[in-house]
Amino acid sequence: MSTFGQHLYEGRVSFDFVGRRKLWYSISAVIVVLAALGFVVKGFNYGVEFKGGVEFTAKVQVANSQTSDEMVQAVEDADVPEAGDPTVQTSGSDTIRIQTRALTQDQATAVTQSLEKAGASEVSQNLIGPTYGKQVATKALTGLIVFLVVVVIFIWVYFREWRMSAGGIVALAHDLIITGGVYAWSGFEVTPATVTGLLTILGYSLYDTVVVFDKVRENTKGILSSTTKTYAEQGNLAVNQTLVRSINTSITALLPVGALLFVGAGVLGTGPLKDLALALFVGMAAGTYSSIFIATPFVVQLKEREPAIKAQTARVMARRAKEGEGLSVGSSTATAVAPARTVRTSGAAKRAQPSRKPRSQRGKGGSGPER
């Protein structure tokens, strides 16, 4: 693993994230379209906080967490899917309240009977309005828009590059749509906890992207005066160099969330834990994927349209064509057809070595004693 990291760092092992962007874009496009289809076809399964519901009040012998659990079981036993995942609360010493989503009269009666069978008495029902769900969502949306504007400006100022802002936002939209799609298709409930989960993804997705962009910026510093490397190659190297970090970070971030999801959905099967954990798990995985496969290739693509970068790429290519008469077939086609493609296979090892010279010198002379 560590030598693998070393190889990635030196560019000896290199995954072509930037050059094969059409492939990644296509994969993402398919997933995004599938996800978006979920919104249209299935829609979201809104929780009681958004749509209102029914509240049952029942008397029990002793109201405690154990009887609460029994009542949850009783509601599940009523075999009314709409009443699944109820919220149960004790009230005083002998009363229990159970909230479910909106039910028809027949369904409500079925739930009542099931509760009575489980030992509850004097079961009454009451319609409740949507709580704060809508308000949470609208306000969260306001917050989201302001956040996006501020963060776009921040990334722009920090990297002095609007293309990085654009790349970050595209990756973010990608992650959010995919997460939303998973919700629609899986039928998991959308509650304020879900909204919270989505907001976490926002932060995480951009956080992760910024880390990768930071390396891209470092690698492409002074690219215009370089005659050996193109912007695309340096961008790709940056993704490769941060790959070990990306993998390690995703693992450490996804392990706890995965545990949360496993316990929430796998063991318990009900409750707000799984709603939150699913959003986080999917969103964080998508966030890591999009930083590597979407955000950086997208930035490189935008950047390559810039005349100065275009000219520099052409210069590098021209020089390579001149030098590379005797080079292997693979890399000569790569230079001619797809300038963005990094050189792979055995030829890359030779090529990577000279390129390390300026960097290692910069590393010694630049960042050490001087700073």
């Binding site: 693993m1 030598t3 070393q6 760092y9 509240e55 659990d69 949850v72 149960v88 609360q89 004790t90 009230s91 009451n126 409740i128 309005g129 709580t131 704060y132 308000q135 949470v136 306000k139 969260a140 306001t142 917050g143 302001v146 956040f147 501020v150 963060v151 921040f154 906890a193 909204v195 919270t196 907001l199 976490t200 995480y204 951009l206 956080y207 910024v210 880390v211 930071d214 160099q241 693992i251 450490t252 971030a253 392990l255 706890p256 969330v257 545990a259 949360l260 316990v263 318990l268 409750g271 707000p272 834990l273 939150l276 954990a277 986080l280 070595q353 290692s360 590393g363 960042s367 700073r371």
Partner: protein
């Protein structure tokens, strides 16, 4: 930058930074212990974080809309719900839930027990009105008038159609005296004066029937003065904003007030007339009163002509009273009136298994992260684990303190947020360690690599954490409810991450780089040559030439 530019002080620093940081954490815990000793309320232990409704239960209050408050429509009920929600959640991050129920009830659920004061706060601030002071500064009676007398007087007042009075007539009644009103109203005035004479003002609240378009006899419970007030001139729903501020160049608090719509115009007319009275020396004829549920909140003197609906109420305010008044003004206008239909204690809405499962998940997640870090980073993994535990200790003490200070309440999403933060916090260390390894690969000795890697990682960590902070701050400002609490938790953990990595992880690594085990790259330290991806030289050496490195590269 400074830390690495001056090398010699830097050598002495890490130990000191580390001990100062750890001392600061101990001091925070000592502060919690101190709160525990001096805690006056005798409620729950300071070592117990404030838990939300879903985890601990709380108080449930039912408000019933009064039939006489007009049509109870779903729309009005929803408006009232919004306002009550804002009011309950205005004071911090307590995460109360407000629901409508059965078409005429509003349910408020607040975490924690014995929150009877909430009933007052929420139920009391219902109807806000601006009235003029027809007669003020009257003294409170000592014995109350007989109910029969009050009823008779009220009947005379109620029988008159006060809504026919024009705004000018209402103003004139204050500025030139109630005698200026048309003769048909004079019996009503007489009844009002009688009622005022028999009115008892008690500091713990009064019970009057406040009807918008009729005059009112009531009192300011703070000053104990009884006043006869005109029919309502501006409704509370015309208030568009209120804020407690200290104006520039001043030292005392004022409440700035903004009106909209009809209220803006009326306010201009009223303040024009009343300000002229003040200039003429008639202080009594220049007052208006802000009445909340029949009780006078404040009766300020008009000291200017406000044409744009914006004004300031000054008086004997401190920060708290000014904020309370501002909140009452801002959220005071409920479209319906409510009575309290009972309050009761409720249990947690989350089944016990959920909390246990959540905590179990947290422990499992943490153990997995620890195992992974140890496997991958070996000795350095211990640094990550140490850092995570320091971060956890710091988070816990901050949650305790903020629970006391600003009512920060932990809910299940909050706890999940903290669990997620494990991963995000670990990322800072990973960024640092990967940079450190990059520097060693680039040919630096380990000690130099620690400093150089840190300089580079620092920028990345700060940039990435800034994104998180921006998210937390905007969401905290613009969002509500659970999201607000979550944003608070996110911001808190991000800041803690920055503190831990700057003041704990970095100095610790600097120190460890000097030890034999780490600094010379022991096989299990995570900093050995093979693990760093170099061979053919020791990690303590600087690779002088490119050739050396490239040969070593071939060797791998």
């Amino acid at each position: 930058m400074a830390s690495s530019s001056k090398r010699s002080p830097n050598r002495a620093r890490p130990g000191r930074t580390l001990s100062l940081f750890l001392a600061a954490i101990v001091a925070l815990y000592a502060l919690v212990a101190l709160i525990g000793i001096t805690g006056d309320k005798g409620d729950d232990s300071p070592w117990h974080p404030k838990l939300g409704l879903d985890l601990e239960g709380g108080t449930r209050i039912t408000f019933q809309a009064k039939a006489e408050s007009g049509d109870i429509t779903a729309e009005k009920l929803e408006q009232a719900r919004d306002i009550i929600d804002q009011r309950v959640n205005a004071s911090g991050v307590a995460e109360a839930e407000v629901t409508t129920q059965g078409g005429n009830q509003i349910i408020v659920e607040i975490p924690g027990e014995k929150r009877a004061n909430i009933v007052d706060e929420v139920g009391k601030t219902a109807q806000l009105r601006f009235r003029l002071v027809w007669a003020g500064g009257l003294t409170s009676a000592t014995t109350p008038a007989t109910p029969a007398d009050v009823a008779a007087q009220q009947k005379i007042i109620d029988d008159l159609d006060w809504s026919k009075l024009s705004l000018d007539q209402i103003i004139a009644a204050e500025t030139t005296g109630v005698a200026s009103l048309p003769a048909e109203y004079q019996p009503g005035i007489a009844a009002l004066q009688k009622e005022a004479a028999g009115f008892v003002c008690t500091p713990d609240g009064i019970d009057v029937n406040d009807i918008a378009d009729k005059p009112l006899v009531t009192c300011d419970t703070k000053t104990g003065e009884v006043e006869i007030l005109s029919p309502t001139v501006i409704k509370g729903t015309d208030v568009s904003g209120a804020e407690a501020v200290v104006p520039q160049g001043q030292v005392s608090w004022v409440v700035s007030l903004k009106l909209k719509g009809e209220g803006k115009k009326t306010f201009s007319t009223v303040t024009d007339a009343l300000y002229k009275q003040l200039q003429a020396g008639n202080t009594q004829g220049s007052k208006f009163a802000v009445v909340l549920d029949g009780e006078i909140l404040t009766s300020p003197t008009t000291n200017g002509h406000f044409t744009n609906g914006e004004s300031q109420i000054s008086g004997d305010f401190n920060g708290t009273t000014a904020k309370t008044l501002a909140n009452q003004l801002k959220y005071g206008a409920l479209p319906l009136t409510f009575s309290v239909n009972g309050s009761e204690e409720i249990g947690p809405s989350l089944a016990g298994t959920q909390l246990d499962a959540g905590l179990a998940a947290g422990v499992i997640g943490l153990v997995l992260v620890i195992v992974y870090c140890l496997l991958y980073y070996r000795g350095l993994g211990l640094v990550i684990i140490g850092s995570l535990f320091v971060a956890a200790a710091l988070t816990y003490v901050m949650v305790l303190l903020l629970g006391r200070g600003v009512g920060f309440t932990l809910t299940l999403p909050g706890i999940a947020g903290l669990i997620v933060a494990i991963g995000i916090t670990a990322d800072s260390f990973i960024v640092f360690f990967e940079r450190l390894r990059d520097e060693v690969r680039d040919g630096k000795s380990l000690r130099l690599a620690v400093e150089a890697g840190w300089v580079r990682a620092r920028g990345t960590i700060l940039a990435a954490d800034t994104v998180s902070i921006i998210a937390a701050v905007t969401l905290f400002i613009f969002a509500i409810g659970v999201v607000r609490g979550f944003a608070f938790a996110l911001g808190l953990t991000t800041l803690i991450d920055v503190f831990v990595v700057f003041f704990f992880t970095k100095p610790l690594v600097s120190l460890l780089a000097r030890t034999k085990f780490f600094g010379q790259g022991h096989r299990l330290s995570g900093l050995d040559a093979a693990h760093l991806g170099i061979s053919g030289r020791k990690v303590t050496e600087i690779a002088r030439t490119r050739e050396e490195v490239s040969t070593s590269g071939k060797g791998l």
